[in-house]
Each structure stands twice: as C-alpha cells, then as structure tokens.
Symmetry: D2
C-alpha cells in the first residue's frame, strides 16, 4: 500500500471531499437515484468555491459583530474615563499630555477602518461561483441569477474559469485579518507596557492574567501577549496561502486546497481574539493617579514655545493652509520659540528643578518676551484643552471623536 | 566619528527629513523669518504622513489607469479572437474546450476585482492627517476641514495619535499590490506554458523576449518571467512592512520610516509591470491552428455524459437551486452517465482510437440509450456553444462578459 | 464567566500546560508529595523548552531518514534510466539535450544540501535549556552537564535567560523546512509540466492521481500539486512564527506559545511530503520515446558553434581560469561562432527544415570553415557525451555525480 | 517604441548584464578577438551564479567581522559592569534579580549562534558553479577543480542544471540575516524599554538619538527603533525572494534576477546595523542606581520558597535528572513552599509593606518552619550568587559564560 497525502479527511468540516459526503447523505435522505443527479452540470470545483464563500460570509458577520462590540467597549470607556490625563508617548518617550480617552480612541480609528474594510470584503466575497461546472460553465441553461437570489448572493462571478480557480477571496479576508491582527498587536504592546510595574497605568482582571510556576509574586498579562503573538499566526496564514497560490496556472489546481486550513484557523483566532480584547478592556482597572504622577513640566516645553508664538501681537493663525504663511507673519516664528523653550528645558535640568519651579527672572534671562503669566503654561488640563482642533485632546474634540464613532457603529 | 544609519538621506525624494529641506527652501524663497513659522503647530510627524498620502493618491491614479489599459487590451483581444477554440486546463491537464477569449476574460475578472479594490483603497488613503501636531493635536484652532478641502482630501483622520502613527494605508496599498502581483504571476505562468514549443499557442513579440548568450536558437519569455518573479518582490515589500510595524507601540516610532522604501519600490514595479503586461499581450501572436490541434474527442467525455442526461424524456433542468432536485428526476442521473462516459473513454483508449471514431454499435454496446445521433456530440463548436449559462463559453455568454467588463471600465 | 483564549488545551500533545499534567500524572504514580518536588529549581519555562527540543530532535531524525530515502530513489532511477536523453529547458524553452538522469540528479544536489543543513540544524537544537529555572538560573547547584548527558544533549545553553526565551531553534527548523518545501515545489512543477499531454514524459501511478467529478477522461496529478501547494503552508508556518517573535522583549513571553502549532504542523507536512515524493517517483512511468521525440536539431546550435571553435587548429582549452585567455587565442572566438550558428538556425527556419537536413554547401555558404564533417554534430548522444567536465551530462560525469551522492548518503 | 522592464540596468553593480560589460571591457584591454572567447563553454548563467557567490563570500566575511565586534563589545561591557544588579523580566513583569551582565550575555548566546550559522552558510556558498555552461555543462574538458582552486572555492556544484538554477544560497543568507535581524529587534526592544523615563536603566549617546521638531525636551532612541524596524526590511527581502523562487521550473528562469536586489540591500542593511549596534552599546551610559532601585523584596519570593525547600534536613538536590526525585524526598516539596511564599507576598501586600519589613512572627504565623534567619533571604546579592549552576547569575557562572564566549571568538 502506497502512502499518500491524507487530503481527503484532513481539514475538518470544509475539505474538498465534502461534496461526495453531501451526495452520499442526500442519497440516504431522498434516494441515491435522485441524489446522483446532484452533479449534473455541477462539479466539486464550483461547489467548494460556493461552500467556502457561504461559510465565510456568515463568519464575517460574526467577526463584524465582535469588532463592533470591541468598538463599543472602547467608546464606553472613552466616555467614562474622559477626565484622566496621562502622558502620550512618541518613540516610547514621554511627549505631551493627553486624555486616556484619546489613547483609547486612537485605536478606535484603526478598528473603525478595519470595520469599513471588512464590510467591503464581505461584499466582494458574496459573488456566486455555482453554475460554472468544473471549468467551462454549465450546459443546461441554468439561471444563475435566480440561484444567486435563493442562496443570498449579491452578484455572479462572470467567468467560469475564474469562478473555480480563484481563492483571492480567502486571501482578501486573510489580508484584512492580518491588519486587524496588527492593530491588536500594537494595542496589546501598549497595554503590556502600561501594565508593567514601572508604568502601572492599568491592571488586567485576574481572568486575563496567569501566575508563575516558580515565582509566587508574578501576575503576567498572558492574554495580551497571546493577542500580540497570534497576530503572527494570522499573518502566517495569509503569507502561506499567498505562497501556495503563487504562480500556479489558472483554474483549479489541487494547491488551492491549502486555502481551507488557514481560513478556518484565522476565522477562529480572530473571533476569539476580538472577544477577548473587548472583555479584557471592559474589566481592566485604570490608575489615573499613576497617569497623573507621570506628567512632568518638561512635557509642556512645546506649550511654552507656543506661548511665545502667541505673544506676537495678533495671531490670526493658519485656519487655512494656503493663507497660513501670510497670517503667521504676525507672531514669533516657531523655529525660534522652539529653540528658546529648549534653552529653558536645559536650564531646569541644570538647576535640577521642574520648569515650573524656575523664577520669572530665569525665564526672562533667556528671553525678554516671557511675561509674568508664563507659569500659567504649566497646567496639564490647560494643555490638553488647548488642543481643540478636530482630532485633538480637548474635551470637545474627544467628544467629537466619540460622536463620529457612534455614527459608524450605527447607534 | 561614530557610525550611524544614513537615515537622513537614504530613501529618495520622500525621506522623513524632507521637512527640514522644505523649510530651508521656503526660507530661500520667502525669507527665513516667515519660513521659520512653518512648524507652528505642525510637526514632521503629521507632515510626512500627509506627504505620503498625497503622493500615493496620485500614484494610485496612475496605477488605476494602467490597470484599465490592461483590461482594455484584454477586452479588445477577447472580442477580436472570439472564434478561436482551445483546450481549457484544470490541474494543467486538458479539460473541456473553451474559447481563447474565455481564458482572456478569466483574468479580466481578477483584474476587475483589483480595480474595485484599488478604488476603495484610494478612498481610504484620502484622509487628512495634517493638523495633528507631533501626537497630541493642534493648539491654534486650525480648521482641518478647510485644509482638507484645499489639499483635496475627502475627510479627516479623527484622532491625532492615530494620524501620526498609522502606516496601515501603505500596508493596504501593498496588500492590494500583492494581489495584483499574484494575478500577474498566474497570468504569466499560463502564458509561459502556452509559449513553450510543446504548447505553441502564443508567441511574444521580439521586444518581449531575449536570446541566449550560449544557445543561438533560443527565444526566452523574459518579460513574463520578470512579471512572475516581481510578484515576489512586491510580496516581500508587503510582508517586510507588516513585520516592521508588528507590535510597536502606538504613535510615531522611527520604525515607520521603513514604510517609504517598500512603497516607492512597489509603486514603480507595479506601474512598470502593468504597462508591460498590456503591451506584451497587445503585440503577441496567437496560433489558433495549434489550439485547435490540441483538442481531442476525449475532452468531450463530459458532453457525452450530458448527452445521456438529456436523453431522459423531459429535462426541465435546474433553473433554480431549490427546485432542481425535483426537476432532475426526469433525466438520467449524472452520476450514472459520468460512469458510462468513462467506459467509452476507456474503450477508445483500448482501441487506440478517438472516441469519435468508434461505431454506434460500440456505443450501444456500453449503453442502449446512446442514439444514432451520438456522434454529433463530437463537435467542439457545439460544445462551447452549449455552455450558454452566464459565465460560460458560448459566444453569447462571452459577449455578456465583455459587456459587463466595459461597464466597469466606464466606456 | 469571561471568555478567554483556550490556550491551555489548544495544541495537542505539546502545549505549555503539559507541565502541570506531568506533575499530576507523576503524582498518581509516585505520590503527590514527591511529585510536588518536580518544580524545585525548575519552571515551566525551561521544561517546555527542553521538551520541544527533545521532540524536535527525534522528529528531525525521521525527516532525515525520509530525505535519505528520497535521495536513494533518485539515485536508483538515475542509475537505471541513464540512457534516456531528453531536452533540458531554460526559461521553459528547449535548450540542450541532457540525460533524464541529469535532471533527476539536479534535484539530488538540492536535497543533499538540505540534508547537510538538516544535520547542522539538528546539532544546533541539541543544546540543553533545563536547569535555567524561570529566567535566572538554578539555585540548587544542579549539574547541568550530567543532566545533558542523561538526556542525550550535546551541550548546554550557556545563559538562563536565553534558554527560556529562545524559539529560534524552531525558526531554524522552519526555515530549513521552507527551503526543502521550495525544492519539492520546483520539483513538482517540473513533473506536473512533464505530465501534461503536451510533454508526456512521465505518468504517475494511479495511487498518486485522482479523477474528476465532471470529466470522465481526466487524470490529475493531485499529489504533485499538493506537494507544490504545501510548500506555502510550511512557508506560512515559518513567517508566522518569525512574526510572532518579532520585537518581543527578551526571555519568556506568552507569544512564544505560538511556536508549537507551526512546529507540529510543519513536521507532519514535511514527513508526509518527503515520503510521498519518494514513492511517487519510484512508481512513475517514464516515456523515453517521447523525450527523444522532443529533441530537435536546433537544440544543437551551440554544438555547432562549438564545432567551429574547435576548428581553430590547436584548441588547448581553458583547463584553468587564469590561463584560459591565452590558450583560447588559438581557436575561433565563440562570440563569432555563436553568431554563425545563429545564422544557420535562421536559414533552417527559412527553409522549413531541420538543420541536419541542410547541405554542406548551405553550411559553407554561411562560413567556409564548416567542414564535410559538420553533420556529425547533429547527434544527440554525441552532444551529451561531449559535456564531460564534472557536473556535465556525459555518462562518466553522471556516474561521478552518483558516486558523490552515495558518499553523502553513507552507503 | 514598446515599454519594457529596464532589467538591463536596474540593480547596481551586480545585474545579469554585467557579463556583456565584462566582455566589452576585456575587449578594450586585450582586444575584441580574444575577449570574444570569454563565452566559450561559458554562459551568462554560470557566470552570474559564480559572481554572486564570490561577492557574497566576501561580504559574509565582513558581516562576520561586524558580528564578532558586536560580541566583543558585549563581552567587554559584561566584564566591566558585572557588579550591577537589576530586575530580570518575564512577560515584561519583574521576575528575579540578575546581573546586568547576565542580560548582556543572553544576547551574546543568540549572536554566537548566528555566528556559527553564518560560518556554516559561508561554507555552503563557497561552491563553484562555473563550468556548467548555460544548463548542460561544458564541452571542452575544462578542469573545474583547478578553476575552483584558483578562484578560492572549496568544492564544486556537482550538477550543471542545479548550478545555474539555484539561488538557494541567497535564500540561505537571507534566512540567516533574518534571524540576526530578529535578534537585533528583540535586543532593541529591550533597550528602548530600558531607555524610557519609567525604567531609566540606560541612556544612549547623543549620536544615537534625535530630537523632536515640535517638542524641545525630547530625546528619541531613533537608532534602536531603526534596528528594530529594519528587521522587517530584511525579513521582507527573504520572504520576497522565496516567493519569487516558488514553484518555478528547474534551471535558470529570469525570475531569479529578483535575487540580486534583496541580496544587495540585505547585506548593506546588516553590515550597517551590526556596526551601529556595537557602537551604540559601547557608548551608552548605564544607571546601576536606577537598576538597584527597581529591585523589591517580592522579587525574592522564589528565594523564600527555596529557603523552605532547603529547611528539609538534608537536601541532596538533583545533581542528576534521573536520581533527582529520590533525593528530593528529603526536603519540603516546592509545590508547597511556592504556595507558602505566595501567602507571604499577599500578606506583605495587605500590610502595604515590603516582605523584608514583616516580623519573624508574621512569617511563622504562615508556617512554623520559617526560622529566625528568614530575613537573610532578602539580599539581592545573595540571590544572584545562589544561582550558581552553569548559565546562572552568580559571578562565577557569568564569568564562565564570558570564557565560553571568548573561546568562540577565538581570542
């Protein structure tokens, strides 16, 4: 007996030999004579393509649901925690103060874009291959539009060769899933860092951490690490399938069977991941006092520079891109104020003080234009409120983001 | 002097230090005092994100054009060569007769889907990040919608952190490009095989082949091989960037600089590739006689099986999925006729003849239901015409595909 | 109840919670009091790393066996089929005549290199992590070298942090497997093409083909297509794991759990694939007459050019790289003879004849140096015998390759 | 004029048309008549394969040098900073105290393994393809072994088809480079985190940081982020090339040209990256006081549990794997002491004290076996010294690692 790939039973419910099983089962129900007609003008090739699209269609509905749930949790926390102010980070170095809600919503932007793409992808998938035979079409005058209607497809794949030889609809789902995975991975990375003792901004509920077999004091953010790690798994499914498809001739080749396992695996991983992310965020404890304690006056150096810009008599700032340079001519150039603020940072460092502990004289020693009101700059609330343009950190701007999000979610 | 990454000058026109160059040049034109104001409330972070989106937007327009041109060449050839009949292949084994135009249009389906996705992607890209500062937004009450209008953006990125830390718009383009590359690769694979002496269905124009430094008789399809090979290059750009982005914290990290090179390289590769594909197809010579010569009666075994299905008295075939089983009860089950046709194939093989050279008696020796008209089955024109359902090979069905294609192309 | 990743039971025999199971089972056998000591100075982290290395070590032995078996089948066929002459292909265009055995052995070169790398990789894996605790080492003066000896490891991982946080040994196996997969994929591609009706050089045994549900005449090379397709699956496992590992902090992070599934899956796929490849090749039928029939005189154009080179009185050809130019000064420059041979190809094409059917006069019409013996060039046997340098197609050179192969296989 | 891939001039010094340039230049030097003989029995195919191997061989020498330099810097710092004690992290949560040198050397383990693999790879590359012609070998009795000797190759590629169609030697280098990139990425991730204000263990020299165009106070670890990000670029080169090679027929196909660009780009990226990593580490400032301040008594909970294990009268611990369970029967099971230590952690947390601030009574309230000496456990120096088994954190064990490293480096 020669060895052979066990491709007939390999991958769960959706293998390419489901067809024969279908016919057999049908035979049990309605008699083999009629069941034997199942393949009239039909082939395994157009059947499996149809089955996979129908299955994916339903699963994408679930994924969409879970994505929406995650966005709702984000929205809920963003609303409820809007008063918490924390450092933002660029290059993982403290940058400017932001609202915690602003951080939350930065990922909402990413997941919203995933949602839109998912919807587009779902539409792309929902095209009927059935009625294409093995490769050349159907010779019995079948009405494919009618069939599409009955099976809930929006339109037809217009070429029989393409219908049976295409697994790009799986690739598209996996690419979309990889991007969602990438977002979950960055999100987890942030939260893992925020969960360290050094940051201490957030603590996961016990259900989402595990202990150590050796170290009794440990609480590890396993769930977040798995979310981050599993983005690799999804990516591997996507690249693997693209590799399998690479350069094969048109129409059906058995290589395409390798689309089933990555599809099944990715859908499951993604559904689990999105649900876990949502619950994990919903149940985490936030530590606003730690966030607040991490703010320091030097994070307002930009505010100080901008203070000087405003000191120029009448600042009709750039409400428009085109007219901006003209208007700006009134104030002090930012290039210059940036330089002066830098000097203040250095001075404070030399004095081993916070910038807010320097005297007016010290400020004016650097530049005469610093006024008596300069210390009013060192107020974190004021700083986040000043970023009031759309997309910024002021209460109004954050609520505006929340409104936009709600609109996408349709509720 | 310590070594360092030459990241300041590295990647062509679009590096992240273009900003400083901008300001310097502006200073030369309008004076450094005013130019120094360029960065008021702006940072390199939101500027580069804006620049890249604007550049990509324009390039995607060009790519769309080239994709449309390729589709037009396909449409033109499909129309002009509609009479050529050739073998279709599944598993690279001869399957059923098709029109050459049907093969051509099978790739049109793929490229059309690319076109739709490209248009969706372009829309996704066209969101304005400017006005987000380095991370926390803009403190000068800038009107971002007005800015968007002036710069031709459709909408705003609604969160400043997301605006500066997102390179998913590049990933999305590269994923889209990878799928186009995958299509070009399969298309090239087919054409390379059809260009072998063994197949001889097609010959590239001299401009798209090269000779051998050693073998004077050779003509190699280098262009097709490059199209196939460069799909790897595009894929590598996509996977590489996804890897660079993997798991980095939110907002801007220098890792994101690695989005520039793959973006530039992919856009160029894709633009070149699509243009070459179009011209290469437009100028190739087709050999319909070789295609015709490759057809053999056994490729009509399915037609023979379907002939028997029809012999059942009144075949009201499955015009609908749901009612199909009932209707089918009239004819002979395909499972049975498939088996009988298989016997005829074996008999012809034993006799070392074409099936069309067997006698009526030999047919009826296998099954009495074979009528005197059975030899009429062995007509390739009849066979392609019978596949008349939408997506099939009949002249009508192929012209229907062409119509649908023209609609997508907007002309 | 909150949802959570089912990471505790997920991936078969090798999950990271096997440790607890181990301790439980040990408790059943020797009492929980003693079993409870299992983790003294040990942690799940160094245990799982040890388990995986031991498992892989054994599996690589099996993979090596299968690889050797495949090489033996190749060697056997190469010896037995040494008389068959066929076209070689570059760019899938007919190039020069070769022995079928030469084609077979070209893949032996690839698989041999895989074998060497596999052996190197196995050595790399065989380093003991146990005795590293969770991260900081062992506090009970354990003798790790003794432990290594007992467990069959060659050496120790010399740093405890590295020992628990490293999955590069899995990556290395997967990279190695990906290259083997790549070889199987190219090998399959060749054989799929050689199995087409158009080439007809080879036919798989029935056990390695499948029929069509629609087309009774079809025999598809499913096994080869799966070998080709599954190279994508292996590649996906490799890229996925590399993605999971990307940029995580040092030591153990839960992300590393994602190394188990790709490892298990790849080992299985590779073991199956190698066995199938070997049996498939052993049982295939070769058609030397079809190979012979595919040879044509224009494939000897290079021989014709080289004939002219030799016509230069004394050709002391380049037995050495450095002295070659001097020696070559005796003969006619190849650049010139290549050109002349090209003219003969064109002439034959114009006359619609084989080059061997042209007259001596026609040859001499192109160049006076063509002698009366020129037609002796058009002998395929002579052509393959002339390539007698090591690595060439002469019987001697092919047997030399076989000898070298046997040496690697150790028998 | 038809468009075409500019493949003739595209990729720098190493394109496949260098051959023609070679011949032309040679013609200028020694006359076109002799230069025209360059291609006698040689083709572009075996020439380019030879050129690439020679080039890579030299570049790998340089990469090896840079890798050795990096290891030397690590060794030097590990020796010089051996007294600094810091927290180790698993799951990015503080685990047990280690020496900073131990962290340094954990990456030395990884880079050493890279070094060994690099040396193996270099050997693999160093096989001569020249003398294989275009595909079928050389017909002039060339002595390839002599040629190999003169060109510095260790052995021959034994099959001409394999010699011209193989780019796996590039794949192998890129896989090797990807793993090095992966190590650099994890290393950078650690250092980026250690450079945050929250951790503050290390500060890069100014040459390896950059400022912000908006925030005067910022110092960003751009160099580390680029090292981390560029691991994606290298990975993309590897996956891209593997994709280009996927499933193409044997021997030379133009797709293989796509091996040049990723090779050149990766070699450059890797050489730069390794040098930067070495200098960056050599010039960084370490803050041992911050490391020390980050240690806390709960990180010694494992030591506390191990203290109890030792309390069992005679602990002849597992010097051997096999005899370990018997010997262990003397002490208290770790499973139990782990549990007790966990209780002490909880108690300290409840009391809002360090564990070292609890009274003997409180200890004994949890378990009578805690002796008067229990507080001696809370000594970080003692803790790292106790991990004295090979691979551990004691001074001796760390110096042992250093010795092993020096041996590998050959100095």
């Amino acid at each position: 007996m020669l060895p052979n790939f066990p491709f007939r039973r390999s991958t769960a419910k959706c293998t390419s030999y489901i067809h024969t099983a279908n016919e057999r089962r049908l035979g049990e129900v309605i008699g083999t004579n009629v069941a034997g007609k199942l393949h009239t003008g039909r082939s395994r090739n157009d059947q499996i393509a149809t089955d996979m699209r129908m299955w994916l269609r339903d699963e994408l509905d679930l994924i969409e649901e879970h994505l929406v749930d995650l966005l709702k949790v984000i929205a809920q926390r963003a609303k409820q925690d809007i008063d918490y102010i924390m450092p933002s980070y660029t290059h993982l170095q403290r940058a400017q103060p932001i609202r915690w809600s602003h951080w939350l919503l930065s990922y909402a932007t990413a997941f919203q874009s995933d949602l839109e793409r998912l919807r587009f992808t779902k539409k792309n998938i929902n095209k009927l291959p059935l009625g294409s035979g093995a490769v050349a079409g159907n010779a019995f005058g079948i009405d494919r539009m009618q069939m599409a209607k009955e099976l809930g497809f929006e339109s037809l794949i217009m070429n029989s060769m393409s219908a049976v030889g295409d697994r790009d609809f799986v690739v598209e789902v996996l690419q979309c899933a990889s991007t969602i995975g990438s977002h979950l991975s960055r999100w987890s990375e942030d939260l893992i860092i925020y969960s360290t003792l050094e940051f201490s901004y957030i603590k996961l509920a016990d259900a989402y951490t595990t202990g150590s077999s050796l170290m009794p004091q440990k609480k590890n953010c396993d769930s977040l690490e798995l979310l981050r790690g599993k983005s690799g798994r999804i990516f591997g499914a996507m690249t693997g399938l693209m590799m399998s498809i690479k350069g094969i001739p048109s129409t059906y080749n058995k290589d395409l069977q390798e689309s089933v396992q990555p599809m099944l695996d990715t859908v499951k991983t993604l559904k689990d991941g999105l649900q876990i992310a949502a619950r994990l965020l919903a149940t985490a404890t936030i530590y606003p006092d730690k966030m607040r304690a991490a703010l320091s006056p030097d994070m307002l150096a930009t505010d100080l520079a901008e203070y000087l810009v405003r000191k120029g008599k009448l600042v009709l700032y750039i409400r428009s891109f085109i007219t901006s340079l003209a208007n700006l001519s009134a104030g002090v150039p930012f290039r210059e104020t940036h330089h002066l603020a830098g000097k203040m940072v250095a001075l404070a460092e030399d004095e081993n003080k916070g910038m807010d502990e320097l005297t007016i004289e010290q400020f004016q020693g650097i530049d005469k234009r610093f006024g008596d009101d300069v210390l009013s700059v060192f107020d974190y609330e004021r700083s986040v409120e000043l970023k009031d343009a759309t997309g910024g950190t002021s209460r109004r701007a954050v609520l505006e983001q929340l409104e936009a999000l709600k609109k996408t979610l349709g509720g």
